[in-house]
Amino acid sequence: MVLLETKHVTKRFGGVTAVKSVSITVNQGEIVGMIGPNGSGKTSFVNLLSGIYKSDSGDIFFEGERITGLPSHLITQRGIARTFQNLRVFSNISVLDNLLIGRHCKINNSLLTVYLNPSASRRIEKDAEAVVRSLLEMVNLSSRGNDFARNLPYGSQRLLEICRALASEPKLLLLDEPCAGMNPSEVESLSAFLKILQKRGTTIFIIEHNIKFIMSIAERILVMNAGEKFREGVPRAIQNDPQVQKIYLGDEEES
């Protein structure tokens, strides 16, 4: 079943076309990877998907419904969550609060409840806390719940950001270079973690430069170049494609 579909999505910034008529599909339960040299439009594409940019033309469909042009908060409410390339956890608040904010749209409290039924409101908040604690357990960060996010080691902060995205129980998880700054064992753990998520039914879309990681985890890979979808295929086909290797020449390649 097709979960996400883009049709000829285009985004221009002044004279530069960052994303050029990109059409992709992501199926329910897949792990799809997106690679490409720096500046090829990967992050811009994810920004389009998450509503941070408005496309100049083309359409985006999620679960069959048109989400083109919707603001970010509505897109997240529909079930798409994301992390950021340059890590945007809320550094000055606790790990737990970060997760609770991530869970915002799933917490069923309202202003009326807060004031007219405070005990129910408290119970709702407590339940939410229990849910996000279980997320922390999944990544072995239970003991750090009350720490400020900025005090976590970098790799843990990246995990935190992913958990924060998961807190809203998204159907589609968009990860923008989750491995950046991680050491090999952290990458391994992340890989295992994502596979567990996939088993639980989350569809994952990853942008990465770490080719080895992407090849090992993605079922399908999209290659971007100069804003266009350059190639699409299974990992082995992409890995052996000489054209793909060519567009990386002159750019950093990790293997």
């Binding site: 910034f13 992050t43 920004n47 941070i52 950021f84």
Partner: protein, 295 residues
């Protein structure tokens, strides 16, 4: 409403507009460069204007000397405020911290000025001849014309300085992009201090021109001056000299027209109303460009 009166109002409006432009240049440059709303701007140049008043009346100094000394003092005060209060906060996480600091600086300066000059309206001497002269068959006060000419002279002069003088070009670079400018070994801190200084100098000159036209100077003009600068800068758009000119002119002419033809007691409210309307409908101003957040 006679045609000649309208012409007179228009000339005064243009003159005031030119003065407003002079006064706004310094503020606009600082905001464009550092995104700092210098709440102390008006109070700084009013200090200079008040100083000029004292030099002229109490010390009977030659006008040219008095103006020069006052302008330099005003510029120095502006640079001092930057050095003492603003510089450390340039990297502050939350921009409103520097804004509030600027407010604090405004209060300190205002209070000092008030203790020195009291809050009365003081009679600023006329520096220019007041007799009417005939232009295009209409009678206008010579003061207005001379003031206008001087203001325009400074505006054009400063523009030329920015475009052709080495220092001016360095300032323009820093206005565009600080990291790049510093990579080109332009001394950022020094340039910023110079910008504050020059903004203060131009502001004082504008203030003196205004006070000599209306023969009045008081502390209250400090806050009003800051608001004028804010409004003109917003109307014209940030980061553009032509924008500052357009903003100053529109503000000066509109204020004057409405002040004469509608009601003079609501003049201040008109300024604020214009500000609100522009902020709501075209916050980037007439010549400004929209900024995008980097993701």
């Amino acid at each position: 409403m006679s045609g000649s009166m309208f012409f007179d109002v228009l000339i005064v409006g243009v003159m005031v507009g030119a003065i407003y432009t002079l006064v706004t240049i310094g503020y606009s440059m600082v905001y464009g460069m550092l995104r700092l709303m210098n709440f102390a701007h008006g109070d700084v140049y009013i200090f200079g204007t008040l100083l000029c008043y004292t030099l002229l009346t109490k010390f009977q100094l030659n006008p040219i000397v008095a103006v020069f000394a006052a302008a330099v003092s005003g510029g120095a005060l502006a640079a001092l405020v930057e050095f003492l209060a603003y510089r450390r906060l340039r990297a502050a996480q939350h921009r409103m911290i520097s804004m509030i600091t600027a407010l604090g600086a405004a209060y300190v300066i205002q209070n000092n000025s008030e203790r020195a000059w009291s809050s009365q309206v003081l009679p600023f001497p006329s520096l220019f001849p007041a007799q009417p002269i005939r232009v295009f068959g209409q009678e206008i006060s010579a003061t207005h014309i001379v003031t206008l000419v001087i203001a325009v002279f400074f505006i054009i002069g400063f523009n030329l300085f920015l475009k052709h003088h080495r220092l001016g070009k360095a300032i323009l670079c820093v206005s565009q992009d600080i990291p790049t400018a510093s990579l080109m070994s332009i001394p950022i801190n020094r340039i910023i201090t110079i910008v504050y200084f020059m903004g203060g100098v131009l502001g004082v000159i504008g203030g003196i021109l205004y006070s000599t036209s209306y023969n009045a100077i008081s502390i209250g003009m400090g806050f009003r001056g800051t608001i004028v600068a804010f409004t003109a800068a917003v109307i014209g758009g940030i980061g553009s000299m032509s924008g500052t000119l357009i903003g100053g002119m529109i503000l000066g002419i509109t204020e004057n027209l409405i002040g004469v033809y509608v009601s003079s007691s609501y003049r201040d409210s008109i300024t604020f109303l214009i500000l609100i309307i522009i902020l709501l409908y075209k916050p980037t101003g007439i010549m400004g460009s929209v900024e995008k957040d980097k993701v």
